[in-house]
Symmetry: C2
Subunit: 434 residues, 2 copies
Amino acid sequence: MYDGVKGFRDFYPGEMAARRTAIDTLEDTARRYGFREIGTPALERTRMYEEKSGAEVVEQLYSFTDRGGRDVALAPELTPTAARMVVAKGQALSKPIKWFSTRPFWRYEAVQQGRFREFYQTNVDVFGSSEPAADAEVLAYAADALTALGLSGEDFEFRVSHRDVLGGLLEAFDAEIDVERAIRAVDKRAKLDPAEYRALLADTGLSEAQVNEFDALLDTPEGDLDELATFAGTERVERAVENLRAVLDATADFGAREHCTLSLDTARGLDYYTGVVFECFDATGEVGRSVFGGGRYDDLIEGFGGPPTPAVGVAPGYSTLPLLMQRAGVWPAEEIATDYYVLQVGETRPVAARIARELRDRGHVVETDVSGRSFGAQLNYADSIAAETVVIVGEQDLAEDAVTVKDMDSGEQTQVPLDGFPGKHERPTYDDVA
Amino acid sequence: MYDGVKGFRDFYPGEMAARRTAIDTLEDTARRYGFREIGTPALERTRMYEEKSGAEVVEQLYSFTDRGGRDVALAPELTPTAARMVVAKGQALSKPIKWFSTRPFWRYEAVQQGRFREFYQTNVDVFGSSEPAADAEVLAYAADALTALGLSGEDFEFRVSHRDVLGGLLEAFDAEIDVERAIRAVDKRAKLDPAEYRALLADTGLSEAQVNEFDALLDTPEGDLDELATFAGTERVERAVENLRAVLDATADFGAREHCTLSLDTARGLDYYTGVVFECFDATGEVGRSVFGGGRYDDLIEGFGGPPTPAVGVAPGYSTLPLLMQRAGVWPAEEIATDYYVLQVGETRPVAARIARELRDRGHVVETDVSGRSFGAQLNYADSIAAETVVIVGEQDLAEDAVTVKDMDSGEQTQVPLDGFPGKHERPTYDDVA
């Protein structure tokens, strides 16, 4: 008997079926938006993350030296790999490059509810457009995907901010401020108690009065965004405000405006973000943490040695998304489904197998006996796999050129002519043949 | 600029689309047979493979010590993980357990055509039935999957053998034979020149006369299988011959008999196989190596601490399958496809975005401008993504409450009323509206 590795999960068929439904929905929505699937490796050179990912990610790397002496790491996120792939193809890729992929990533971190060491994400990115429409398309994709999962506007909200508004405001104070640390403090605003949060901000170089002033600015309502530009008096903040407003306007055209809320204390840590950033939250607040996030990272591809290539993306994951969907009551039932079980009684396998084949050819999920079991054992098994219809192929029935069709819900059954099943019906049930 | 890791591949959208079609086909066929998807971790305890996998696999492990001091390895195959999962749930799983999953595995081996260090397989297994029907169902699944990929009986064959026929025959010789090594020699029969192969066999303890006699037995035609039992005079070979014949008979009921050839020199190395084994080959011989294989492994679950649980499975992989499909001319085109590009001219984004949304709601792949580009640049881009239909939303058209629908193949275009597009059509093309 062996144990699995802590933080790595086994998914049995019921739970996997629910996860597959969610993954299919997010991928199908991405395809309809013209995002194209890519396939990416589990291992990358450790150096790539050491040089390009944040310190926190590097501390959590699963890294080792392979048998050929290469320092390699299990990918902790997609973005560096995607950037490497964009750079590798150079000008051969027509812009915008719109990619998606679903796969696991690995980080050695503390395991808790909704956080594992192996976690799956669907990454959706646009490379090669700096236009607000690209940010808006990513937001619209995310909103459509969540809507397709059965969530409504009452269930989720995208808290949208802009890295340059935050950075530019901090810059505007007459003080020596550690801007990176200050933004990290802002990122914790909703999580910490006010005193702790203010202490963090004060630590970055702001006076108590400046902390108060800055913190009040974070609550600026959308209609007063221009006041931020006036306060800072810099082109950086003016442009950032304009860009933020243009992105929100574009989400209106793309049908996602109702899901977006201005929320200047959304900072998305530091990493490589450069423009609009956003996080998806449970609108009821019941799921306290961010469900997923995204944003613009215009400098990353250039940092990988490519030409300047603006980029924006989002990465819904399947560790936190189930928490939101369960809260909203739209997580799919964790159970398997079977259209038909073809039950063999006596030496009837040739006919039973033929019927099973014909039903499978029509696209149905069909099982038949492969264990040589009794009538009762087969019926129990059919029940355990939630078979909707059981087709009983018995020697007596066959002598009369017939089979028996049983509805597993009601228990009702009826004899039907052999050549009438499945016959002309695409998906014959008891009701069709009774 | 960073390099990827040797033997690990990046898949760009065109190639990925072809691979996805193949994966979807193999998975869809598995679903129709009632195999249920499971999800499995990338990492397992190294000890599990050291104790349960063959020496060759262990030599090729990507293994390391994680930050918590655990000795872990990237999974080189699915079977040990599946066995661990079966044992972990004990009697809670109703038998037969029918599972499938598609995922990458990792082995540090020499990279060559059709062999990589990261490789994808769809594993399909039945646990809990020792009946020939289970072996036959796995073979029928494989045949149906290849047929669904567009391959015919002329393209592939399953070479079927039985581990106990081989082992039992070797046992029957009056000699001290290293049976494991002898079976490994048989596995190389088709690959080595005859002298080398005979030397290998002689090395295992067979005299020259015995080598000749044993080798001739391997060519026993199907009709004469009973002669093998007579030769050996053991119950083991008699039962094995009977089982092999029963499996082949069952494949007839399941519609896969025509794809199966008796081939006693198919041995599948050693590993954990205990009964019927088979390998899929290119029937034309052009692809020289085995495309994939499978077989029965009745002792593995017990070896993992579970109750006796017979098992049989197959694992088509996406490194060699493309070689066969390319040879047969059925590998999908490595290209992306787009149903609609909605082209914006002037300030028409609200209408263009609405049309794009309506088309996406009908399930189509639709892109629209997110880069603020000119008419010509958008048309070039639409061409680069192989858009079938371009919907031109221009200010002039809109002034007349119309849009222009352009067929990208013929270049023909026509103006249609705005409220007629997409209107009642599920998937309107130029021909529908012209």
